[in-house]
């Protein structure tokens, strides 16, 4: 009974928050809200510019972080021998995952905006998000790879398969559900973060061509949903109450949608598990 109560104590606030947000946002939610730029000093209009900016940031950061993270995890789990070097690497990955996002932001500002001379841009912000999500992708991928029994690998090596053939034909196909789940969950993290993009590429306001999916360039500055929500909630006076709630619902909806997708992918792929 006590466990049920504790579980409900966790679920009820979430339902209340989501319900309250949707209730407050209902007057403004429409397709038009999604597909028009903010107007009138961000006191009216929609969220097209920040929505597209967030999509750019998430997609580009994952395109960068996923291959690097998965390959690094494959190296650490499948190739690296247990020695001081790999112990330091593993420790670095774990510690990097615990670094606060504002520190990543400062790193991104120094490394990408200033040192690499990218300026404040979608690319610099995406790279910062990629650095932030990388350790979690490495850790979740390593876990997924380690879940494949060692006996499968030994059976392959015993018949003369190389390490890469074993990874390619046995290990990766049987750990893909865990890897994908880890990667997809990072989408929601990248979409929701504000601090890492504030210093590196997100701007207060930028109007773009409505309905054009290619309205941003890699070296443009861009808006983002999380930053936009912060701005209209705290920096702009006389904003209609429904506007920040509508933005929050879209942001939350995106995150929940992606999480749901992760669950569906995991369930689907696990049902095909072959051992």
């Amino acid at each position: 009974m006590i466990f049920l109560t504790m579980t409900l104590m966790m679920v009820v606030p979430l339902l209340l928050i989501v319900g309250y947000l949707i209730y407050q946002a209902l007057p403004i939610l429409s397709l038009d809200f999604l597909l028009t730029n903010p107007r009138n000093g961000m006191r009216s209009g929609g969220i097209w510019s920040p929505l597209l900016g967030t999509i750019y940031l998430v997609v580009i950061s994952l395109v960068i972080a996923t291959p690097i993270g998965v390959l690094a995890a494959v190296f650490l789990n499948e190739y690296a021998r247990e020695n001081w070097f790999t112990r330091v690497l593993n420790l670095a990955v774990v510690n990097l995952a615990g670094v606060p996002s504002i520190v990543h932001a400062l790193f991104g500002l120094g490394a990408f905006v200033m040192f690499a001379r990218m300026g404040k841009s979608i690319l610099a912000a995406s790279l910062t998000l990629a650095i932030m999500t990388l350790p979690v992708i490495i850790a979740s991928t390593k876990e997924a790879l380690a879940a494949v029994p060692r006996s499968f690998r030994e059976a392959c090596w015993n018949v003369g398969a190389t390490r890469w053939q074993t990874i390619r034909h046995i290990v990766l196909p049987n750990s893909i559900s865990g890897i994908l789940t880890g990667v997809i969950l990072q989408v929601s993290r990248a979409a929701g973060e504000t601090a890492p993009i504030m210093f590196t590429g997100a701007v207060f306001f930028k109007a773009i061509e409505e309905g054009n999916l290619f309205a941003y360039g890699l070296f443009d500055q861009g808006m983002a949903l999380s930053m936009h929500l912060f701005t209209i909630s705290t920096q702009v006076p006389d904003v209609p109450a429904a506007l920040p709630f509508g933005t929050a619902v879209v942001l939350l909806g995106t995150v929940l949608l992606v999480n749901a997708l992760a669950i569906i992918v995991r369930v689907q792929l696990r049902s095909r598990r072959k051992w």
Partner: protein, 248 residues
Amino acid sequence: MIEISGLHVRYGHHEVLKGISLQAGRNEILGVIGPAQSGKTTLLKTINRTIDDIPGASVAGTVKVDGEDVRRVKDVFSLRRKVGMVAPLPVGLPLSIFDNVAFAPRMAGVRDGQELEARVKRCLEQSALWDEVKDRLDSLGTRLSGGQQQRLTIARALSHDPEILCLDEFSIAVDPVTTMRIEDVLKELRSQMTIILVTNLVQQARRLADRTAFLLNGELVELDRTDVIFSDSPARRETFEYVNGIFG
């Protein structure tokens, strides 16, 4: 043909094999018996160099396969295709039965569908599994019973046409009827290759092996014809006591 001489293996500071020397000829079944921790499995791992994958393991001495020192072999994968290995617990790869057996030839570059089909059929027949699975080759290998999976493992080990077949306590997870069937298979395979049979079941070595080696605490106590090892007067008293169940 395998020639092992002065073989020492250490795991860190622990010496597991202490100067083993033995030979196994073509068309021979060499039984290797001995209690737990006597170094039997380690001996097999030095032949196909899977010992390389064990952290902290160091090897001294020579292991020659067809006259070639395996420690000097550059392409370890071709060596492993020469030496088939069957582990104690059956391992069906998470692939179809067909793909389990076709895995090694495919990894070695065989692409021709007809050749693969012929090879899969031959290996499944050799391992006495063909009749039971010929109508469901697309089923998962992992869904077969333990005994069937062990015969699948043998079929996989045969699929790359090895010159040597190493079996490490293959019957540990297999019922007696299946064990007898696999033993019949091994008797037939003897005419095609060298077989090294590591077993805890001394009577299994007695039934199958032409010669038998007795290992104790990493040392080769005795190697002789199986009928001598199991007679009332082997060369060493420990051998007599072990095969008669007085210790071990």
